[in-house]
Symmetry: C2
Subunit: 359 residues, 2 copies
Amino acid sequence: MDGGVGAKKPGVTSSQVAEHAGVSQSAVSRTFTPGASISSKTRAKVLASAKELGYRPNAIARSLITNRSRIIAVVMAYLENLFYPDVLEELGRRLAAEDYHLLLFTGFMDRDSDPVFDQLMQYRVDGIILASTSLSSDLSEECATAGIPVVLFNRTTQRDAVSSVTTRNRDGGRKIAEFLVAGGHKSFGYIAGLESSSTNRDRFLGFAEGLQAHGFTDIALGKGNYSRLDAEAAARDMLSGPNRPEAIFVANDHMAVAVMDVARHEFGIAVPEQLSIVGYDDVGPARWTSYGITSMSQPLKKMVEATVDILMDQITSGEIEAEHRILSGELVVRTSARLPKTGVVDIDGRKLYRPKDTA
Amino acid sequence: MDGGVGAKKPGVTSSQVAEHAGVSQSAVSRTFTPGASISSKTRAKVLASAKELGYRPNAIARSLITNRSRIIAVVMAYLENLFYPDVLEELGRRLAAEDYHLLLFTGFMDRDSDPVFDQLMQYRVDGIILASTSLSSDLSEECATAGIPVVLFNRTTQRDAVSSVTTRNRDGGRKIAEFLVAGGHKSFGYIAGLESSSTNRDRFLGFAEGLQAHGFTDIALGKGNYSRLDAEAAARDMLSGPNRPEAIFVANDHMAVAVMDVARHEFGIAVPEQLSIVGYDDVGPARWTSYGITSMSQPLKKMVEATVDILMDQITSGEIEAEHRILSGELVVRTSARLPKTGVVDIDGRKLYRPKDTA
DNA sequence: AATTTTCTTGCATACGTATTCAAATCTGGC
DNA sequence: GCCAGATTTGAATACGTATGCAAGAAAATT
């Protein structure tokens, strides 16, 4: 299937437009270069000819000379979790607004992101957004020396030269602990995401801290790996044990929904009467009334905005200094967990957990 | 934010590698061109130097000379419906396997796909996949004259020069009608997708035909526009009326889930005891046990495979002749609709509706 | 060993654009 | 109508690669 000989029509070039308009090729180029020195008269001539011939500047050729592709690579290994499609959609909007384009890498196992990386580099992308995958250390270093900005989305790392955008996952985990303790729960479980992800670690850390502050040190653990199937299995395990926890914090909503399905329909457990479930992300299905998952929200639009901001900054300045933006979410209260006596407030039609004593 | 002067590191060129290896630039090029005439000895030398210098062929420059970008544009206005992220993931896999890359356009209103089109053309993409948006007639024509293959995914059109991949939506609609009639339902409703979409038209057409064959000509109608919010509104309307239908066919699962939520939680209607709901796509949430939507499946992987096949064919042959691939789905039976006495069979753990009398 | 045939190789050129530089044109003030 | 200055213009070049062509090297044939 390679080496095809199909002839694509050559396409109109700036020289052809130039000839048709009776000007030089430079003039055509300048017409389509914002801020270039060109008189309105010749500009008009060129535009007329361009329209007549159906000319469009060749972005490929332009990239070659400017050394700017105006392409941002977005790497998302999987899109199963609706959070990421939402991110993608917003990224599409924001990048388009900046006149950038989105080269998507998806549909591969998390492990083999390295071959993907080769492709990235070949297209001389102007920036890289890593959303549901990581990058081996030498690769991120290679980006740095190549002068390509890299932003981790919803995860972080210690390496310098790699920026990140996250929310206060540790605070979030702690807040969820507070909420569940205030709700009178006495035993707890945690169903984890990918254990290698910083986000998962931080959420658990905060959760454990928050519980410990009230004297609870025992947490039932399950491994969900951010995957629906794994989360289901973990839930079965946790719920069938002799001492089933009264409350489970699931590392994200995508898995929380699965856990709730297992609890209700496989075990006949009433949620929230017999079991409280709290998730993270506040993603679409969490809001659907069948689930109504109480969940820490992540300010998706602001996160995307920050991501694009960082990229644009680094691209225009040429300075690649790691920048870490950390945003805050809210604990959105719905019906999947028993409520505390106080602390739930109504704001703009959303119920949020905002206790007096905590920050 | 434009006109930045940030200096991206130049990057290693083939000439530099050539010099380092003591060969000509041509030799370097041939080393990285599969099937080119090069001795294994010099090839080895080049590869060694390339590795040492960290050389990667510049895809941009290559595109300029070959007139092939190895980029496929994928246009998906919205990703709210999980069906499309799933498609995207599979597309990512398949295109990567063919050594093609995916330039994604998303996050804009369906109407303004025309500015998007300009961008497409500037990058000289080798093919275009239109998944959740259409293209105005003159634009598809322009693609044809430019020699760029276009494939409509999950919708179709009469224009020649534009290929399409769909399933037998009309048959699907008819089968759903048969299923509901066999289930003993006497009154019916339809909640539509975007009225301009061929897919929506065909599904409704088949549904109406199937009902008519059994003497039912009255169908309650609602407009869901493939949007969750609109579907909810349509459901409220349809369910609060004086003669609420016993069975509703919702044009896709994304909306069916919303309709079910409204029925159960806003109206307290028992599904399927008091109301049957059937959807289309067999997408993730339809399978979740809280919903268990009975749904016509679309063979996503085969659809994507066909799409990529068509593109590769047309790219390599240079012949852009419209090709229309039409695949078949199955009616996957779950718990959202009352069952007919006969015709539901168990295959590979899935329950399918396969009545004896129909094809 | 001489000759033909097949492989390799380097040179030169082309792809379509942006940009430098010097020449040409225009502007306004006298 | 003349000159300094500002603006506009075109010629030439560069970006990094692929490829036709002719020459050279190696292999195969006689």
